[in-house]
Every structure is written in C-alpha cells, then in structure tokens.
C-alpha cells in the first residue's frame, strides 16, 4: 500500500530502523528495475533473481545514498552494474553481442516476450519485441530514456558516460531499433509509416 511519502522520506524512515518501509520502495520501482533487467538479460527467471539482488544491494548500501541524485537514478546505477557483472559472468560481451543471436535467445527462451497472435499484431508489442532483439547496451539506454523517466544527464550518470556520448548512443540505439522493426516486422511497419 502506498504511503504517499517521497522517496527520501521513506529512505529516512528505513535508516531510522523501520525496515518494513523499504517495501514501499520495492513496490514503487520493481517494474522499472525488472523491465530494465529483462531487456538486458532476456531471461525472465534470471531477471527476477537479479532484480531481487539489486534491491538487496540497495538496502545494504542505503546509508551511502546521499540524496545528490534521484533515488531512481542511484537504483538504476546499481541495476546497471549488477547486470554488467552478470553478463560478464555469463561470458557475454556486452558491447559486441551479435544482435541476431540475441534475437534467437530472446525467441527461444521463455523470456516473456512471446506473445499470442493477437498481441503480436499490436504495435506496442512489436516495439517490445524489437527491443528484445537489441544488444543489452541499446536496450538499456532506450529503456532508461523512455520507460525509467531518466533525463539524458541522469542516463549519462548511470552509465558512467559523458552527456554527449549518451546522446549519440541513444541516437544509434534508436536507429538500430528502427532497422530491426523494418527488417523483422515489415508488414506492421508499412501500416505505421
């Protein structure tokens, strides 16, 4: 149940020993964190485990949150580093992942992106599936920009990049998403344009 308190007020309560107040932050951000991870990792089972790990890490380090950025920005920074560590452990190269292979992985695994015939026709679902075909880097920046309510400055901070680099990376990621849509969803795209 929502308390209506701001993130920083909830954090103060948790730091004062009210551990249950942390549930409010989990409820508030679980969908954002989970979506971000799922789009990078492409496996629902792993994404859930990593998301849990992210919240546990955030709780453990809560005293280090100084309020200089939004709590969500801080939380997505933990999400980003946790995902990168996971991908490295899985021996997946975050930067040079073959997009087509990612597509195969996304299609073959029970990734949550499999949709029924009716859903597949929906444009929104097409975008979700096209994002699943992108590399973790591209999927992450697009999700941070469009779904995680982060400004370009905040995205740059999360990813440890210069603002201009983040801008270029976002532009390129969108370009690749458009290419995927045109290549794999030709009919749907024709209806859109």
């Amino acid at each position: 149940m929502s308390t209506g308190l701001g993130d920083n007020e909830v954090i103060s309560r948790v730091l004062l020993g009210e551990q249950n107040a942390f549930a409010e932050l989990v409820t508030r951000y679980q969908n954002y964190v989970f979506t971000l991870i799922l789009r990078m990792i492409k496996s629902r089972e792993d994404a859930e485990e990593i998301a849990q790990d992210v919240f546990v890490k955030a709780y453990r380090s809560l005293a280090d949150f100084r309020g200089e950025s939004k709590f969500s920005t801080w939380l997505y920074t933990i999400t980003n580093t946790t995902c990168i560590t996971f991908l490295r452990k899985k021996k997946l190269d975050v930067h040079s992942l073959d997009n087509e292979k990612v597509f195969e992985v996304a299609e073959n695994k029970d990734s949550g992106f499999k949709a029924n015939v009716i859903e597949q026709k929906s444009r929104v679902n097409m975008v979700t599936r096209a994002i699943a075909m992108l590399s973790p880097d591209d999927a992450e920046i697009i999700t941070l920009f469009y779904k995680a309510e982060q400004s370009l400055e905040e995205i740059a901070r999360i990813l440890g990049l210069e603002i201009n680099t983040a801008k270029v990376r976002l532009h390129r990621a969108r370009g690749r998403l458009k290419e995927k849509m045109e290549k794999h969803f030709t009919e749907e795209v024709k209806n859109i344009y």
Partner: protein, 169 residues
C-alpha cells in the same frame, strides 16, 4: 544536400527537445516546406510514441515479499564515509608522495650536470649502491610492513570468498 542519417539525427534532437532555438526554427521551416523532412519526421514521431507506449514488465506476485524476506536477515551497512577516515587516506597519499619525491631527489643528485663526454650516460647506474639501500633498517621495515599488509589483504579476500561459498551452499 543533407544525408538521411543526418536528417534523422537532427529530427531526433528536435523530438527530444535537445535542439537549440535556432535549430528548432530551422527544422520547423524545413518541416513546413520539405516533403522528405516531413515524411521522416512522421516516421520518427511514430516510433517515438510507440516506445513511450511500450509497457513495463512485471515480476512475480511474490517479488516484494521475497525481497523483504531476504533483507530481514540483513542490516544496513554503515555509510562508507563513517568508516573511511579521510585523514588516513591523505596520510597514505602524503607518505607515498614523500617517498617518490625522496627517490627522485636521490636520483637527480646522482646526475653529473657538468658532463662533457656525450657518450657517457646521463645517470651512472654503477654509482648507485643497491646493497646499501636494502641493508638499511628503515627500508627493510618498510618492506616488511608492505608484505604484512599484502598478506592481510589476501586473507580478507579469501575469507570473503569462503563466506560467499558457504552462503551459496
């Protein structure tokens, strides 16, 4: 004439609201007069709206409960600033800076600045007496402290790993 990729880049900046006032005015003029720009703009705005409309994924219903059960076993770690004393960090930095400066001063003191013969090396390494340095009690003590610190660090890393494996088991 502008490349299509360049047009896209400018249009994305315009859609995201990153364009300057001048760029915005110029793009708006092009959108009103140029069909290529207009059609590209409609393409991109459609993709932009679809990305905004894409839905968030949801974890399992038990997610919050699982996290809360997990953190019930834990305590919040003290803030890093509370246990990292800046004075100690500055002290270590000062120690190493002094050490490096000392070595540099010693090295430059060995240089014969009035040499005439070009074939002679700038620093005569044969005059540096290494055995004298390593017979020094201070240097030996310093090396010993470093070895002990290294062993303590190794012990800590191994202990952490052991804890992690025990937890996983």
């Amino acid at each position: 004439m502008k490349q299509p990729e360049n047009i896209e880049q400018q249009l994305w900046s315009y859609i995201d609201g990153f364009s300057s006032r001048e760029e915005k005015t110029a793009i708006e003029k092009l959108l009103a007069s140029n069909l290529e720009w207009k059609s590209k703009y409609h393409e991109l705005i459609e993709v932009h709206q679809l990305m905004n409309a894409s839905e968030l994924e949801q974890p399992s219903m038990r997610f919050t409960k699982n996290v809360m059960e997990e953190i019930a076993k834990l305590h919040i770690a003290p803030a890093t600033k509370n246990y990292i004393n800046n004075k100690i960090i500055w002290g270590i930095a000062a120690f190493f800076i002094t050490l490096i400066t000392g070595f540099l001063v010693y090295a430059f003191a060995q240089v014969d600045w009035n040499f005439q013969d070009n074939s002679k090396p700038l620093i005569d390494l044969s005059t540096v007496n290494l055995s004298k340095i390593f017979n020094n009690n201070f240097v030996n003590g310093f090396m010993m402290v470093n070895v002990l610190l290294g062993l303590a660090l190794l012990d800590r890393v191994l202990a952490n790993k052991r804890k992690k494996y025990q937890k996983q088991a």
